[in-house]
Symmetry: C2
Subunit: 235 residues, 2 copies
């Protein structure tokens, strides 16, 4: 973000926005981790915090979007800078959806606790924790790649998303087995199905973020492209 041709004020505006995107990213990453913590420890307090913070994430998205529009309208960005600004707009849309997933998990925790079913529910805790660990790691890597405009790391994120998808499939099979063994847990298990799905989506969003990084750095739109296709763009 330090092109010589940029006016220094434009430059500092861009860098201020990037900082806020990373701040927003850090916030939603923490939210996902907290939501999973709330699930595993059945902590109503932590779940409540995640739900409260969703609002802050939404506000950040709208503020950054407004600033982006203002910058584009006031400055006359070059094609390259415009690419960056549009990619940032898509990036914060993605981050907001990560915040949504975290809030979804937190609301599920509240519902599970209210139903009282949580007590005799056999939970695939370690699997959920493992899947969530993969997803938050991937999200952090994607944010790092954005901060350093590192297309190679972005490629790694795109590859990593496949592992989460495989983990999700295994978790589904396990949940189905639990439900068949004890049909009383079906209702609560369906909630966990959605939790697992929300975590899997966090991985998808990390991948989308990584695709935007490659768009900024390489100028190539690699959405809907095979891993091999992305690889040949990056290298």
């Amino acid at each position: 973000m330090s092109d010589k041709h940029l006016s220094s004020q434009f430059d500092s505006e861009l860098s201020a926005i990037s900082t806020r995107v990373l701040e927003m990213g850090g916030l939603v990453e923490a939210q996902v981790a907290q939501a999973v913590y709330a699930l595993i420890h059945f902590s109503a307090e932590t779940a409540g915090q995640v739900i409260t913070q969703e609002n802050r994430v939404n506000q950040m998205e709208m503020e950054i979007d407004r600033d982006l529009s203002n910058i584009i309208a006031r400055r006359q960005p070059t094609a390259r800078d415009l690419r960056l600004l549009i990619a940032i707009s898509k990036t914060i849309g993605n981050l907001e959806r990560v915040g949504d997933e975290a809030a979804r998990i937190a609301r599920t925790v509240e519902r599970l606790m209210n139903s009282g079913l949580s007590n005799h529910l056999r939970l695939p805790m370690s699997d959920l924790q493992f899947e969530a660990g993969l997803a938050t790691n991937l999200l952090r890597q994607a944010l790092d790649a954005f901060a350093r405009l590192d297309a190679v790391q972005a490629l790694e994120v795109i590859k990593g998303d496949n592992q989460i998808d495989a983990e999700f499939d295994g978790l589904m099979r396990k949940l189905v087995t639990y439900m068949m063994e004890d049909p009383r847990t079906i209702s609560a298990s369906i909630d966990l199905v959605f939790v697992a799905k929300a975590i899997e989506r966090v991985g998808d969003h990390a991948k989308n973020l990584a695709e935007q990084v490659i768009y900024i750095v390489k100028g190539a739109d690699v959405r809907h492209t095979s891993v091999e296709g992305v690889q040949s763009v990056v290298s």
Copy 2:
């Protein structure tokens, strides 16, 4: 899209893009309807068509996005025109996600048919059809609102999404009952849970589309705003 201050060429570029957005919208609307048809009639052929067309939707998204960037870079859009261009970019992102949901449903149909389970599966067909009807109607209304830049109709779409959410909750309860009655159907029923969820999401995307219409017409960002809040912006 016929502001006096626009150069006529810019005007015609904008109108060409709007036409393509509506074309893309019509395509994804048809895809959702086809995917649900494939489910209800267990038609592998129709499911296959939906999956094939996903690619076309993805291509359309990328093409329109590229054209939008080119327009912004070449012209120096006023704040109001820029608002329109950015809203269009978000709109096509939403439409692409509708296409994803349709493809997800179609892939589920294929899986259900391959598993052979579909034969003795008790399906809440009429409920799924009803939910899908609501969702495709809402999507069509949202596209109409976009075509006519009609904020009042957009508001109706935002209100209508609540009905789909309620329908989804009822469908979930029914599926849970079926699973408890016959645990052999759990695995297939989970697939239907995801179908119902995908349809519910189509409603969410229609709502997001409607929010963009209000942003274009009123200049107010009404994402994450209560129905009452949106109402006071529109009227």
